[in-house]
Amino acid sequence: MKAKCLECEGEITIPDDVVEGEIVSCPDCGADFEVVEVSSGKVELKAAEMVGEDWGE
């Protein structure tokens, strides 16, 4: 599956086992996107959250 980068329109390869909430990165510009919906071979992306100070284990 492929998706278009919302930032640079580069081509993002989506893994076959993709799930909602997963993060994908654009190989061209490096922007991160969250997969918000997966339906009939298409995914909807939105800009991923920036890493927070309290993120981690």
Partner: protein, 287 residues
């Protein structure tokens, strides 16, 4: 069918692994996105139980987001792994240190101070090199080695300019002369299920897998097991990662993590960590 929930704000490798394993094990695992969930405090516990089931795996990558959601779920009598109390202690290095000291668990010498001036005094008291860490946060972020007075002054000054009240809490530890690795023990309930060495990547002294550290299987000795289980118990128990260092005065515990990342450990361990955690969650449900 057994029903469990997992709350998340970002699906990473571990969360995907839980979903996959749950399907294999015939568990109805529902993943709930904390970012879109509305915490209605007035809601009837019954409604919450229908949505979340009896046991929830707390997997929010944002510590404070997870903590608030856990407080809410526990108020509706839902079992959360890990509990609010445990997550609160593990999410703050100082609170963790206090519990380790109380339980007589060997840990690096630590001084806490509240101003830049007293932070420098703390470093001088401990001696160089020392390590400055934020009390919250992970992955070695903002963890700095203070090698001499000049670097200590610069780093503390830089910290002083960071926003957020927690950045003005200076948690300073002695630097432990150790091999370029630490030990991570993964505890599930009463059991140490696997242990790994985490080797610092080239060009860094921090051993975090998130920083490119490499994992290698670590033999579990009786000493390691006892210490890891005692440390886990000291913070309240549950599913935990106890991080240790090998020093010239024996093994020291420096951290206990509540939202265990186990990708590195899974790459070298024969134990199915996700399966062990799911089995533990099921057991907790039946309690």
């Amino acid at each position: 069918m057994v029903k469990l929930s997992l709350v998340y704000d970002r699906i990473g490798w571990e969360e995907k692994r839980f979903e996959l394993k749950a399907r294999e094990m015939g568990i109805d695992l529902q993943s709930i996105d904390a970012k879109t969930y509305l915490v209605d405090v007035q809601i009837e516990p019954k409604v919450i139980h229908e949505k979340f089931g009896e046991v929830v795996l707390q997997r929010c990558i944002s510590h404070f987001r997870g903590l608030h959601l856990t407080a809410f779920l526990e108020s509706k009598d839902i079992k959360v792994i890990n509990s609010y109390k445990v997550a609160e202690i593990c999410g703050n290095k100082f609170l963790t240190t206090l519990q380790l000291i109380k339980a007589n668990i060997p840990t690096p010498k630590t001084i806490l101070s509240f101003t830049a001036d007293s932070a420098l005094n703390a470093v001088e008291y401990l001696g160089y090199p020392a390590v400055l860490k934020p009390v919250t946060g992970s992955w070695g972020r903002l963890v700095a080695q203070l090698k001499d007075r000049d670097s200590a002054m610069s780093i503390i000054e830089a910290r002083e300019l960071l926003n957020g009240p927690l950045n003005q809490i200076y948690y300073i530890q002695e630097y432990i002369q150790r091999p370029p690795r630490d030990i991570r023990c993964i505890i599930v309930g009463e059991e140490l299920i696997t242990a790994i060495y985490r080797y610092a990547p080239i060009g860094d002294w921090r051993t975090n897998i998130a920083r490119g550290g490499k994992a290698e299987l670590c033999q579990i000795t009786k000493e390691l097991e006892d210490l890891a289980l005692r440390a886990a118990k000291a913070v309240g128990g549950g599913v935990l990662a106890v991080d240790m260092m090998e020093s010239n005065r024996g093994i020291l515990v420096h951290e206990v993590n509540s939202r265990v990342e186990f990708r590195g450990a899974a790459s070298v361990s024969n134990v199915d960590i996700a399966e062990a955690i799911l089995n533990y969650a099921i057991k907790e449900q039946k309690r």
